[in-house]
Assembly symmetry: C2
Homo-oligomer: 201 residues x 2
């Protein structure tokens, strides 16, 4: 079940901030000897790499491959932020997070953000500004989040989520969302990062 995953990640490669933070030349690097895919679907894969550590010891190392996603801090003209509430199977409950979604192969993360904000929340993204591109869990996963902020302008037609997306939009003053993050009521790392660093009151 070995395969080349170049194609699925192509959508991220062209986005300049991606991988600037990853240095590749050093005597302490691990050497990858083999890899076996245990699971592949369109959204994520799981592989076990056989790696040789700098001291020559070989171990199996589990890696989650997950396509990148883009998320946005959408702030309305009256200082409210638009979030989405959705079920998150890994944490076994509902979370409040920034609107966003997967970046498809070859897609600009800005387009992904605009599409998801329209579909999930019914807002148009204006004055979109890139904040950070971060690895959500570099010790476990290939996943990258491209984080943006924008002015959010309400669309007359309202949200139009995909039939398989069970999300609802939730609006609140950004100050309230920040308090929720401080109290541990909003817990997604990239959502906390975006809310706290997007500026505005």
């Amino acid at each position: 079940m070995l395969r080349d995953n170049t194609t699925r990640r192509r959508g991220l490669r062209h986005f300049s901030p991606y991988n600037r933070g990853v240095e590749r030349s050093d005597g302490m690097r691990w050497r990858t000897v083999g890899a076996e895919y245990l699971f592949c679907n369109p959204w994520c894969s799981f592989r076990v790499d056989e790696v040789e550590l700098p001291d020559g010891v070989r171990i199996g190392y589990g890696v989650l491959e997950s396509g990148g996603f883009a998320a946005v801090v959408p702030v309305t003209s009256d200082g409210r932020v638009v979030l989405v509430k959705q079920w998150r199977q890994p944490v076994g409950g509902f979370t409040l997070e920034l609107p966003g979604g997967g970046v498809e192969a070859g897609e600009d993360p800005r387009e992904a953000v605009q599409r998801e904000l329209r579909e999930e929340a019914g807002y148009e993204a204006r004055d979109l500004v890139h904040m950070y591109s971060v690895h959500t869990s570099p010790g476990r996963s290939t996943e990258v989040c491209h984080l943006f902020r924008c002015r959010a302008e309400k669309l007359d037609r309202g949200p139009e989520p995909e039939p398989t997306e069970f999300v609802s939009a939730v609006e609140m003053p950004i100050s309230e969302a920040r308090e929720k993050a401080s109290r541990g009521e909003i817990t997604a790392a990239t959502t906390v990062l975006g809310l706290m660093l997007a500026g505005g009151s």
Copy 2:
């Protein structure tokens, strides 16, 4: 290969900010019908849940189970932050991140931070303050990061990393680390979050 993972996560459950942000009662919840573990080792597991969506459709959903970790923004009396450089197999390169490590079952995340700061970087953590406990990737993984800040006091004996940890400590003014995060040269989400929100100049 089904198993109960209550025990391995016990170390996180007692830490109060964990899971306050996860709401469990709502008509849009997914129903878990089954689960199969494809991989388990002491550090992470990968399972595929069979879930029933609110519209009755059943799908397989891949979940990475990863024990929580604790990380700290350690700032010296002259405004320098202590980071660690290490190989990260999922991103295929070296990263600069906050010192930290896994929270063992039953362990207080504060103890984990103090131990890792001593071992990886050769510093004692003083005035440890909890900042956030966040889900690194709630759509893909159970992983939680408990984020702290502290004053860092250099130990005479220097770092004493575990023989299997190939990490090196890197010190720089916290202002420089923040610039690196802004330029995309530091990319781990929880490291960016910690650096930007730890306060101090």
